[in-house]
Subunit: 220 residues, 2 copies
DNA sequence: ATTATTTTTTAGAATCAACTAAATTATTTA
DNA sequence: TAAATAATTTAGTTGATTCTAAAAAATAAT
């Protein structure tokens, strides 16, 4: 299996994330935005990743990730998410602090390390943000989940993930007492702006805008 | 505080280790041997480290590490050794597997990470090889050296000196594969005569009398 | 005290990953 | 459909880290 450099791994991961859902090619500009590098730098990297056969690259028409590339991306994501679990569960990081550190740890290359860490953590299936952790073969458990704003009044569920996992948003959730695993119930929905009143863990009332609710994924 | 690159950190660490003990300057060739890079590459790196004020570099006369450099080296060593403790104690690595992985982990830059890891591990003072772990200020506990025969079963240490340095005794040590710097571990102790079974460098089993052991000083 | 040897540095090149500026291709608009 | 705009690529540069080959300085030997 081809070895990727640190930078190549980061690009591949971005391309994988941008590919999720839609089957359309990912554009140079999309990658440039995601990676915060210039389009010219992206073009260069795409050529390299194409040569290493982890993406299918047609000049001017964007890229598609190959099966081999998908496998490798999932292994990097697996490492990232396992480290996040470690940081939150063992080192008492709050879930908005872990991303940057995991971003570095995910590049440490030692298969046995991840095997042992996985074991140490008890083979977790989801990371602290509720995202699934691929197993060693790249397979991942999926939970049917829908945005909180799509729930009706009286509907109940459990927060399992967030769409926008920016530190600012995670801090906001933390502040208001919402977290992955919290049991919630929709008490009221304002027709005018789509804002919600929800009950968290059967004890705390909380108002949130439609925009915030759309970023929270729940398991009903 | 000046930020060092990955490679600069590794060079600084090597220079620190080569400086230990002796007060003499460290030569370009010494560093070249230690780092497995060519002397020409070392010269270039020394210029950079000199500019960053972590070493005192006089062309053709080798280098001395500065106070600032020593501080930084000790923080890298602290990270390396804390990770080694983690790998051995929590992930069940054997002590000969940990070095390479720790070599990568030591470069992850997050002060809070090391603080929390240190706490999680219970503020260990020594790594699995018996080397002291610098605290956050760079201070390290030194262990008094003691005769090998005073160690208990399962105790580990490093041979640092001999009491009797007669040629005959040194020849004997050489023959059995023990030497200054060798890592040893006491596997068994015979009560009757005080003789020992020890493991040398994690690979060679060795029987020795109490008299011989009493002549070997170890650092625990 | 010269000469020979060893050590160290300089000069120039390669690779990786970023950049800017300019050129090229694709897409949109009039 | 031709011109304008947007997206993308190419060419050339920079900085970091390595290398080889050659020059220079320090040290050892005759």
């Amino acid at each position: 299996m081809m070895i990727l450099t640190y930078a190549e791994e980061n690009y591949l991961k971005s391309i994988y994330h941008l590919s999720e859902g839609g089957k359309k090619s990912v554009s140079t500009n999309d990658i440039s935005n995601e990676m915060k590098t210039k389009p010219a730098s992206v073009s260069d990297m795409l050529r390299k990743l194409g040569e290493k056969l982890v993406i299918d690259y047609r000049k001017y028409y964007g890229v598609n990730i190959t099966e081999e590339g998908k496998k490798m991306a999932l292994q990097i994501i697996r490492k990232h998410r396992l480290w996040e679990v470690f940081l939150v569960e063992k080192l008492r990081f709050s879930w908005d602090e872990v991303h940057e550190v995991a971003e570095e740890l995910e590049h440490v290359k030692s298969p046995v390390l991840m095997q042992r860490l996985d074991e140490f953590l008890g083979h977790p299936k989801f990371d602290p943000h509720g995202d699934p952790i691929p197993d060693e073969f790249g397979d991942l458990k999926s939970r049917p989940r829908l945005p909180l704003n799509e729930l009706e009044v009286h509907d109940a569920g459990q927060i399992v993930a967030v769409k926008d996992s920016s530190a600012a948003f995670l801090r906001y959730l933390d502040k208001v007492g919402a977290y992955i695993g919290a049991r919630i119930k929709v008490l009221d929905k304002v027709e005018f702006d789509g804002s919600l009143e929800i009950l968290v863990d059967n004890k705390k009332n909380l108002f949130m805008s439609k925009e915030v609710a759309a970023n929270i994924l729940v398991l009903q």
